[in-house]
């Protein structure tokens, strides 16, 4: 993987309480590609995302965005550097309307944001239709769309997306894959996804995390063919 990395994670160690969840995670995310984080349940994928986002503080290691260390910054500053986060469970503000959800995400109320918003609504017609409905009344798939849409409101250079297909019906997942493919061209994505079909449809590179450590990485294409690896670490 040649070229400068947009995001570098070096030997990250994170504790949650007394539990040593991340025991040395290292990643290199190259720009304009989708990197997938794979691994079993509890391997530390979400913890990695949350540490990158600043919600958790690492006890050791570093995270660098565009060469700049960010692992000691508070989440809101990291977000303002151009990193968007779509968390597990979507993180939708149910009591706000769809429109308000999108507006609260916008950090700059200017013309480019407005145009981006329109483009998002084109990609997600459902959101346009339910624009003034309470976000809590949306279906699971629509909430996921909203969550992803929110991350695109700002000109984010990196998107962290955590298990978008979780709990969604297969047909919705299909729509999701289409939408993400369309957006792929505009951003760099770090994707955590248990659904291997989705992961391989979207991913360019992969990193395999097991027991809080990075154990393997490579191109998605090579992984698809490697049945041994898939069986050992992903159980498929």
């Amino acid at each position: 993987m040649a070229g400068a990395s947009l995001l570098e994670v070096d030997d990250l160690h994170t504790y949650i309480g007394q539990h040593h969840i991340l025991q040395g995670v290292s990643l290199r995310i190259r720009p304009d590609a989708v990197t997938v984080l794979l691994g079993r349940n509890g391997a530390g994928k979400t913890t990695t995302m949350r540490t990158i986002m600043g919600v958790l503080h690492p006890t050791r290691g570093a995270v660098r965005f565009d060469g700049r260390p960010i692992h000691h910054l508070p989440p809101y500053e990291i977000a303002r550097l151009g990193i968007g986060y779509v968390p597990e469970g979507q993180g939708i503000f149910g009591t706000l309307t769809v429109d308000e959800n999108l507006r609260v995400a916008a950090l700059a109320e200017d013309a480019p944001s407005g145009r981006r918003l329109e483009r998002i609504l084109d990609l997600f017609p459902d959101l346009d239709r339910f624009r003034h409905a309470r976000a809590g009344t949306l279906s699971g798939g629509q909430k996921q769309m909203l969550s992803i849409a929110r991350a695109f409101v700002n000109p984010n250079r990196l998107l962290l997306i955590d298990e978008p297909s979780k709990g969604l019906a297969p047909i919705i997942v299909e729509h999701l894959i289409d939408a993400l493919r369309a957006m792929k061209q505009h951003a760099t994505v770090l994707l955590v996804e248990q659904n291997f079909a989705m992961a391989s449809a979207l991913g360019d590179d992969f990193y395999l995390i097991d027991d809080g450590r990075t154990v393997r990485h490579g191109s998605m294409a090579s992984l698809a063919a490697d049945h041994e690896l898939k069986k050992k670490y992903l159980g498929i």
Binding site: V55, Y76, Y85, P87, G91, F93, L96, R103, V104
Partner: protein
Amino acid sequence: MKARAPLAVALALLLLPLGFMDLRTYLTLTVAGLAMGMLIFLVAAGLTLIFGLMDVLNFAHGALFSWGAYAGFAVAALLNGRWGWAASPSVAANALLLAAAIVVAMAVTVVLGVLLERIIVRPVYGQHLFQILITLGASIVLEELIRILWGPNDQVMPVPATIQGSWDVADVVVLRVPVVAIGLGLAIYAGMQLLLNRTRIGLIVRAGVENGEMIQVMGHNIHRYFTGVFAAGSALAGVGGLMWAIFSQSVRPGMGGEQLIFAFIVVIIGGLGSVTGSLVGALMVGLSYNYVAYLVPKAAIGVTMALMVIVLLLRPTGLYGTAK
């Protein structure tokens, strides 16, 4: 979805006391109940926003109520003592006195609120037990300071002459002060709704109340809003205290603590983080308390508790609360 059916039940209950008293008494009690409700709303509204946004149980809120009352009292006593602006029948003088009292009450409580948030609350942010203890300690200190500065006894609050007394509306005696309180409460409620629903700050606060972590991850420094919300909540408590002083025509060092328990109950009934919930809850408590106090004085507080229990059984997070 929300409170459609319970609203109908509530309305029915509202008219129930008519079966036990004549219309005139009912109307007087209703006005008194709404006024009391409004004043509790002022305290509860600040409390519920502070809870909802910051997850802070602010015991010092009652002390801020007292401080607002005493600050206003000090100003009113000064202006009345020097120039007789309260005793005077001139509407202008009365209005100026009231305005001055409100402004001073708010200013003092905002300053106290900001100090509290910065010095007392922020260091223990996230640790519930310590927050409770430290705000408890702060409330004790604040109340004791009142006793030191103004003495431990009740004092008479100068009430502007033009809002004393009553109007005679179709043979019903309607006291003026409660009506003023109701008007003020409604105005403040409307203002808060406007602020919360039509401004960007309000949007961020509402989102933060629902999910504090998410709002930060989206690029907003929620701590800046904390201080603002704390200050606003403190100002509300201060105005509430001042109005209560006018309403009851006296100030007492312990007045905040007594009202705080009502405010807590209202926040529980209304739901954490909901201003509308506080209003509805406060009005329910105010009305029920007044009706029952007239009919069976000793059962008044019992009915308030029963109300709380019933609401919790039906909706554990309060009427308008969101489960977090």
